[in-house]
Point group: C2
Chain length 333, copies 2
């Protein structure tokens, strides 16, 4: 742990989607808090905004909210998203008025976030500025955590599907939530990405990091979307920091979500090796599940096997600690 | 009751503010429902929108909502406004985020109305169109009640006040709700009225009415604001229908609200006579409280005294019935 001592204010940057990323990062924060020599470490989280969607005239940012609620100790633990002790009056009213869509569940407390975000965006604040204000309420600065949206420009992941209604593109959330990813995706289109730029601080957070971590978020529609933001991939390639990823697969299956369906859509096998291949131009270390370790050989990255099931908050902290240890080992090497 | 028989599909038009107007009109609807010869009567309500306000980026129409909730059997009976069995999670969240203002209480179900209204307005629908959709959910068409906003143009009543912070104009709601009308109003300004036109159907509803009723709403900031909409006062003057008003005062005092403070601001005495004076160019009948009857003499309008306290739903129906009877008596004369 000599490496730790040399980095008292270690800067860790992570790219993250929703539930898996948030649980991993809360585990990382727990791990840092438990070690006095790491207490000053700073964590910058670059959150996916490709899932963002306008619902009922309000701007909803599912991944940013899951990160805020989880890191801010307000998340519904069982679900992994949404708020604990949530009410459900508002959406029932919207349904009574015939407002669409009704397939996306928003709780009453959660509506508070969407209302205030929409209000502030409407006043001309950028999504970065709004996110910083929301993070203030959730105590992230106090934890030395900075949450940045990947971009202040709206980017929306759409999914090309084909079913009885023919071929068409639907919003990612419609595919993921309403269709439960059961209709095969033909491809993903990040609408707006051609005009998008990285949000303020995003590229610097990668370039100046001591360590870059990729939590076990969806490699296609979470990490993959962030990697598509102009400059992000180049910054990762150019960074002197070790980049360590955590496989989202255990024995080739996603623990939650539909990573396998997303990988199939882009023609990538659902294996820890194939996922690492998506990151091969910048990946230095790859933490895989014990049962996958034997089958993974990467030309450029160090591979470590260990249990990866985030079955508890403590387990998540252990996994995050292992990813950080691998990064520091690579850094010291 | 011969007059009734001659008007099987009697068209009644009413101008209304919030709580008092809504209770009176629900009473009128009850009265009509109780009499088979009146069951086909049609009621058009022209609602004040001068109280409307943007809160948290959402469009809130307090008087229209009170009319919808009351006529739609969803109102909080004790308060007279807002929803029955209401939750309070959303606004607590907004407070936690530091969103302003916090002096206006919005419940969770109520937020549903504001969200869907704002969404539909954002899609380009007019306030009339939005109000018709909201009224559908509350069953108003089924009751042969049409609710029209006085105008589709935004009109906001502002109040000029002077206190320790000097002279300034505040939104009507800030004066009414936050200051509880305790800071003397110097005058009222209907911001936007110079560019406003009556909403579709408003002038026709007055011109083609068989009877026009003025419920015991605030004569200055509810009825008075509606009368300021271009064409409304002329339509009332020109209508062949009898116009019958119900005094909002009992023994010179408002039953609820701050009508006396509003009257003082415009230099009008807080008496049933003086209020009738505000309507003198079109008023045909004036229903006043028993104790006020002796002191009211109007040159052009018939005056009837009777108990006016809407102490119950049945009492409101009796008062509304008396106003209608007076109108029909004048019509038959």
């Amino acid at each position: 742990m000599g490496a730790y001592a040399r980095l008292p204010r270690m800067r860790i940057t992570a790219l993250a989607g929703g539930v898996g990323g948030a649980r991993f990062l809360r585990g990382l924060r727990d791990h840092l808090d438990a070690d006095p020599s790491l207490a000053e470490a700073e964590l910058t989280v670059i959150g996916n905004t490709g899932d963002d969607i306008n619902l009922f005239g309000l701007r909803v940012c599912p991944d940013l909210d899951t990160l805020l609620y989880t890191l801010g100790e307000g998340v519904h633990e069982g679900q992994g998203w949404g708020r604990a002790d949530e009410g459900h009056l508002v959406q029932a009213e919207l349904a009574a008025y015939g407002a669409e869509p009704q397939w996306f569940a928003l709780g009453d407390k959660d509506f508070g976030t969407h209302i205030v975000r929409s209000q502030w965006l409407g006043q001309g604040l950028s999504l970065s500025e709004v996110t910083a204000r929301l993070a203030e309420r959730w105590g992230l600065p106090r934890q030395r955590v900075t949450l940045l949206p990947m971009s202040d420009s709206p980017v929306e992941t759409h999914v090309v599907v084909e079913d009885d209604e023919g071929q068409r593109a639907v919003h990612f959330q419609e595919w993921w939530v309403r269709m439960q990813a059961a209709v095969p995706a033909q491809r993903f289109v990040a609408v707006g990405m051609d005009r998008a730029t990285a949000a303020p601080g995003v590229l610097d957070a990668i370039r100046r990091a001591d360590v870059v971590l990729l939590p076990p978020s969806n490699p296609v529609v979470s990490i993959g979307i962030i990697l598509g933001v102009p400059g992000v991939r180049d910054a990762l390639r150019g960074s002197s920091a070790p980049v360590v990823g955590v496989s989202p697969l255990i024995g080739g299956m996603p623990v939650r979500g539909h990573a396998d369906a997303c990988l199939a859509a882009i023609g990538v096998e659902s294996t820890a090796s194939a996922v690492a291949g998506l990151y091969e131009d910048f990946l230095d270390g790859w933490l895989v599940s014990t049962e996958d370790a034997a089958s993974v050989r990467l030309p450029r990255a160090a591979v470590h096997g260990r249990p990866l099931l985030m079955s508890s908050r403590a387990a998540a902290a252990d996994i995050a600690g292992a990813a950080l240890a691998l990064a520091l080992e690579l850094k010291a090497a």
